[in-house]
Amino acid sequence: MTAPMTETNTQNLASYNFAYLDEQTKRMIRRAILKGIAIPGYQVPFASREMPMPYGWGTGGVQVTAAIIGRDDVLKVIDQGADDTTNAVSIRAFFAKTAGVATTTATPDATIIQTRHRIPETPLHAGQVLVYQVPIPEPLRFLEPRETETRKMHALEEYGLMHVKLYEDIARNGRIATTYAYPVKVEGRYVMDPSPTPKFDNPKMHQSEALQLFGAGREKRIYAVPPHTNVVSLDFEDHPFEIQHFTEPCALCGAEQVYLDEVVLDDKGGRMFVCSDTHHCESRRAEGHRGALLGDEPVVEKEAAI
């Protein structure tokens, strides 16, 4: 066997196909995506490939993106809502290198947004695709570890167990204590894991203009929520689903009704809360919005030490 990874191939990735995956694989993934769109919320098994990044680090999302990306697409990648977190940077660089596509941090400009753990604050529009990286696609997994059993539960729509968990939450804590990966029912049929996004983002999935695709590489599942689909968070009539509320606005841009990250300022209990969606925060500041802790000078961007 030849050794294609030495000499000739270390210079560029030209020997890899556009967007890394071969066309045969992309077709296979697209078929899974189409099936997923046809049956919203249903987990379609697919022959997940080994990717040049570790399982659990977005291999599912990367495969979905690789299968749907075209030369004219504009890609945005976020992790924790931020464009500049290391894994987002790494995945964006991967596609810039293997597909040569344009990338952006501006939510409205992107045609494909790959995300881990957040949905952008700016409402998505028709034609956009939001690709979620999913670690554990099975919402029933921690109630029932067996795949053979959970598939049967989905097939027969036996979701009582899901509410047993929520019931236990309330009995024990006085409230539903699930804060992220909060289960939803899609189009009145399948119970789905929205990936570990905070439940704050659940309402954004409902009747979204954009197509939402979910890829779980290690678990080999793809699922989808087509545009204009009902996505309802599970709850009780007397303990309705509610999202997190923050008591104060973003310290940098003054935004309210957005998801905030807590930043520890010192070792004396000093804290501030800033937008988790970095693009949203930056664009608000560019528009002149100012939060309580925003200095007069523009925010200095410092490269993290190694």
């Binding site: 066997m1 050794a3 890899y16 890394y20 098994p45 697919f46 022959a47 490939r49 080994e50 990717m51 040049p52 570790p54 399982y55 659990g56 680090w57 291999t59 992790d79 924790q80 500049d84 977190t85 290391t86 894994n87 940077v89 790494s90 660089a93 753990h117 957040r118 570890p145 795949e147 053979t148 409230r175 804060t179 992220y180 996004t197 905070p198 439940k199 704050f200 290690r218 599942r221 997190q244 008591t247 104060e248 310290a251 940098l252 990250d261 807590e262 300022l265 209990g269 000093g270 804290r271 800033v274 988790s276 200095g295 925010v299 961007e301 410092k302 490269e303 993290a304 030490a305 190694i306």
Partner: protein, 372 residues
């Protein structure tokens, strides 16, 4: 004033430059060559080829070098390369009976046709550190028997001729051979897919499970029927030619465990098989694989499933070290958005708890005020 800290591309590039420097180590010491790794760390190379499921000693050596000797990382590198290769088809079943054996031992017969052949084994070495190996002393040339080219009969065939051991499961020739790299896992899993999954499974994980079966967690009364290591021809059927041609040779380790079985309503009392087959010289892995294979046949043989090693979903879903390492290590990635949600909840619940028990809320209120 707040200064945003960004983990950007430059930081990543810097980290990778540091990694490259650490990998190379002291520049005054000559760098390792791939020949050195493939030639002198060959069991590491074999393990990486096996679990990477790609037979290429040179690439495996490169992967080990690139991974700084981290074998799971090397397996990962090889897998990520393998997945980009086009799949042309599959070989004919290799004939391990025609293996050019370098090592062949059986624990169930004192002597047998073809003999016990120890080969290059650590067995019976005294595990004393050898200071001479620190240098590069010349060695005595080993004595090698002349290759007679004769088939060395497999122990399982000796037993099989007498009907004492179950036949190899009949395969439905009309069914395509499973390929776990091309189709998602499904349970219950067929034998071909199970053996593929075990063959690339983590040696340590399978070893521990195999050990557990010996300690009573699904005991299967095993005997090492035969272990053989050597090279076999790989043949591929060329439809245009209408016959199979040899495309190369691979070194394999095969282990056939012979296990007691009392018989069932369908089958007479006879021995059953546990099967292990691994790339390269990987005896421990092949033995562990064969014990696990036998344990996983519990439901097929009508045995109660009482132990982890018999639990198909448990074993086969968790034996892949590339998957395991990725998911365990992904905990390094930022999770602060979800953590924030949990922080908020815990604070609120604590506040309610203290309000209930003492009528006031220490700590939390103070922290919240300080943030403002």
């Amino acid at each position: 004033m707040y200064v945003a800290v960004k983990g950007g591309e430059a930081a990543i590039a810097n980290a990778h430059r540091l990694l490259a420097a650490r990998r190379r180590g002291d520049a005054d010491v000559p760098g390792l060559t791939l020949d050195q790794i493939a030639g002198q760390l060959s069991l590491a190379v074999d393990r990486v080829m096996g679990e990477g499921s790609l037979y290429d000693p040179e690439l495996a050596a490169l992967a080990i070098k690139q991974a700084r000797g981290d074998l799971i990382e090397a397996v990962f590198l090889l897998r990520a390369y393998r997945t980009t290769l086009p799949r042309f088809g599959h070989s004919e079943p290799v004939d391990t009976g025609a293996m050019l054996v370098e090592r062949r031992i059986s624990a169930v017969y004192k002597d047998l046709p073809g003999g016990q052949l120890l080969g290059p084994t650590f067995d019976y070495t005294h595990r004393l550190l050898d200071p001479e190996l620190a240098g590069d002393e010349p060695l005595d040339a080993p004595e090698m028997a002349a290759d007679t080219g004769e088939r060395v009969i497999r122990v399982s065939d000796i037993l099989g001729d007498e009907g004492l051991i179950e036949d190899d499961p009949a395969t439905d020739a009309s069914r395509p051979v499973a390929d776990i790299t091309r189709t998602p896992m499904e349970f219950p899993m067929e034998r071909d897919a199970r053996l593929q999954t075990l063959a690339r499974g983590d040696e340590g994980f399978l070893l521990a499970l195999a050990y557990s079966t010996q300690r009573g967690y699904a005991r299967s009364h095993p005997f090492a029927g035969e272990i053989r290591i050597g090279e076999v021809d790989v043949e591929v059927m060329i439809p245009e030619l209408g016959f199979a041609v040899v495309i190369g040779r691979v070194k394999l380790t095969e282990c056939q465990m012979v296990n007691q079985f009392k018989g069932s309503t369908k089958a007479p009392p006879q021995f059953t098989r546990g099967y292990g087959l691994v790339f390269g010289q990987a005896e421990r892995k092949a033995m562990a694989m064969s014990l696990c294979d036998r344990a996983l046949r519990a439901s097929e043989l009508g045995e109660d499933i009482v132990a982890p090693a018999q639990d198909e979903e448990f074993v086969l879903s968790h034996c892949d070290n590339v998957q395991s390492t990725g998911f365990v290590e992904h905990l390094k990635l930022p999770h602060y958005v979800d953590f924030q949600a949990e922080l908020d909840l815990v604070r609120r619940m604590r506040a309610e708890h203290f309000a209930r028990t003492e009528g006031d809320t220490p700590a939390d209120g103070a922290a919240r005020e300080a943030a403002e």
